[in-house]
């Protein structure tokens, strides 16, 4: 007699990338439209997240309505600018290069104690200043490029790279961004290189975080859904990896919120007075 074995159920990180690409394209169209924008601005680092965001923006708005910015610093890896050009070329978007060295070094000059780590944050915030200034100059909405993994780990500069008002990739883990990038035709050289914030020479994300994205994303998905550690360990993950994931998530909740306000009334914003960000009423 035939025996038929069932497939065990489990959490699935693999997505239908054509469907995701279609959905995120619609997201960009709709979220720009009600804000009154036809154009978008993307800071392109040479990495896979911003290249993927650029691809989506070009799809949603047409390449002629997308401004790509490369914002190198003298200490940035030359490869980053090369890959930014490659991404812009792949999606037919003009790339504007603005060197942030004078901005950053201007500040570094008045604070000789600036450490490489602090300087990395200054670079990210200098890029934010340029992005928002050119947003106004070009009447183009800045797009965020942060993925879910780095958002959960707090692996970004607060009020720096997290500042743009809309973000198509923020609910996709890094491994899912890789899948989407392939679907959208992001060049292999960009998809396959080790991810780096390129804020400090020689750094890579996985060395900073102390674990690989592929392993971190599976742990995160189970942790966020409430699976106990023992369950995650049984999937083949080490206790120290699980601990590291939980540590990174739990020391950075503040970075995913607006600043803390002392509540004194029953109309405290976001505590008592709750409105979605797209809320508006018709006035007479």
């Amino acid at each position: 007699m035939r025996k038929v074995y069932g497939v065990p159920g489990g959490e699935v990180l693999e997505l239908d990338y054509p469907a995701v690409a279609d959905y995120l394209t619609r997201f960009l169209e709709a979220e720009l439209a009600w804000r009154g924008y036809q154009k978008a601005l993307v800071a392109v680092s040479g990495g896979v997240d911003s290249a993927t965001t650029l691809a989506l923006a070009a799809r949603a708005l047409g390449p002629e309505n997308v401004h790509a910015l490369a914002l190198p610093h003298a200490e940035s890896a030359p490869e980053s600018l090369e890959h930014a050009r490659m991404a812009a070329g792949a999606f037919g978007v003009d790339l504007e290069v603005i060197d942030i060295t004078p901005m950053v070094e201007g500040y570094a000059g008045v604070r000789p104690d600036l450490t490489p780590y602090r300087k990395g944050n200054v670079k990210a915030r200098a890029r934010m200043i340029v992005l928002f200034d050119l947003s106004m100059a070009y009447r183009a909405l800045p797009l965020g490029t942060g993925n879910k993994t780095e958002r959960l780990f707090g692996y970004f500069t607060w009020h720096g790279d997290d500042a743009p008002p809309i973000n198509p990739l923020g609910d996709l883990y890094k491994t899912q961004v890789w899948g989407l990038a392939e679907e959208l035709g992001v060049p292999e050289a960009i998809r396959k290189k080790p991810p780096t914030a390129d804020l400090v020479p020689g750094q890579t994300d996985e060395a900073d975080l102390g674990l690989s994205y592929r392993r971190a994303d599976v742990i995160l998905e189970h942790y966020l859904k409430g699976y106990p550690d023992a369950y995650i360990e049984a999937l083949g993950y080490r206790p120290e990896e699980i601990r590291r994931v939980k540590e990174l998530v739990n020391r950075t909740h503040f970075k995913r919120h607006l600043p803390t306000v002392a509540v004194v009334s029953t109309t405290a914003i976001h505590e008592f007075y709750l409105r979605p960000l797209d809320f508006r009423i018709e006035l007479p």
Binding site: V12, E14, L15, D16, P18, A19, V20, D22, Y23, R26, F27, A30, E31, W34, I166, Y273, L274, R275, P276, L277, D278, F279, R280, I281, E282
Partner: protein, 288 residues
């Protein structure tokens, strides 16, 4: 045959007048198809996610009826039945509800009002923080037959459609607003779930199911659409695309219900069997 049209529209948040004008434009577009019943999604006049803004934007049923009467006079010749979801302010109590109403425009006016019983308050949803629950499900008579209204999560509990069918409904109208989630397949998981639910409810009771599902993005949450009409044997007669506005037109042949139920007499069996289960049902409910 009763010609139905589902208006799968994307409202602009909080823009009640503009959204009703859009509804009017959609009716004009539909005039050549001659629908007799038009079904509009949950919370259409305002958009779905309002949080505390419900109290700024909720309408009384009379305010909505007046706006729809005006719109009907301008856009339509002859009577038109219209099912629409909206946030309702009860004039007497001042309570707020997630409501859908059946209007016979150019006729009896308000025929039936269903206030959502199952208010999702989990995950991305927070309805019970801002709204009161409705307290009943009942079928009602339209000029074409007998119908019931269930709103969104109401329909995800099979007991509500069971009640509606036992109460004589031949058509169940389901205005909904369903944010897309679950992208491991070509259609979002919630859209698949809606399809399965509609097919199984329709087939179990031998009823038509008309789902009107909102579209449009609301601060990152993409309302999925995929409105549909399911036949009494559980086939999908028409389905709108996901994520985009669409007008779905389908004819409901109510005369098919008796023969379909004769072949698959689940509702008749339920009527016979339910009294046998009544004591256990009461025991379980009283033990909750």
């Amino acid at each position: 045959m009763v010609r139905h049209a589902v208006l799968q529209l994307a409202p602009e948040k909080g823009q009640v007048r503009r959204n009703l004008a859009r509804l009017e434009a959609a009716l004009l577009e539909l005039a050549e198809d001659g629908p007799q019943v038009v079904v509009v999604p949950e919370a259409y006049p305002t958009g779905y996610f309002l949080q505390g803004g419900v109290r700024e934007l909720a309408l009384t049923v009379d305010e909505l009826a007046e706006a729809l009467d005006d719109l009907h006079r301008r856009a339509w010749e002859g009577p038109l039945d219209l099912v629409i979801g909206f946030y309702e302010k009860d004039e007497q109590s001042g309570d707020y509800f997630n409501t859908a109403a059946y209007f016979e425009l150019g006729g009896r006016g308000l025929v039936h009002r269903h206030r959502k019983v199952f208010l999702p308050t989990y995950g991305v949803f927070d309805e019970e923080r801002y709204l009161s629950r409705g307290h009943g499900v009942r079928a009602f008579d339209t000029r074409f037959g007998r119908a019931a209204i269930l709103i969104c999560e109401d329909f995800w509990h099979s007991i509500t459609s069971t009640l509606a069918a036992l109460d004589g409904a031949e058509v169940i109208y389901v205005p909904s607003a369903s944010p897309a989630r679950g992208f491991s397949g070509p259609r979002p998981a919630n859209v698949e779930r809606w399809r399965q639910l509609a097919m199984s409810v329709a087939a179990e009771h031998g009823v038509y199911v008309v789902l009107a599902s909102l579209v449009g993005f609301e601060a990152g949450k993409g309302m999925s659409g995929g409105s549909l009409v399911a036949s009494p044997e559980g086939r999908i007669l028409a389905q709108a695309p996901v994520f985009e506005e669409a007008l779905l037109v389908a004819d409901l042949d109510l005369a098919r219900i008796p023969p379909v139920r004769y072949d698959n007499p689940m509702l008749a069996d339920l009527k016979s069997g339910l009294p046998i289960l009544w004591n256990d049902l009461r025991r379980v409910v009283e033990g909750l």
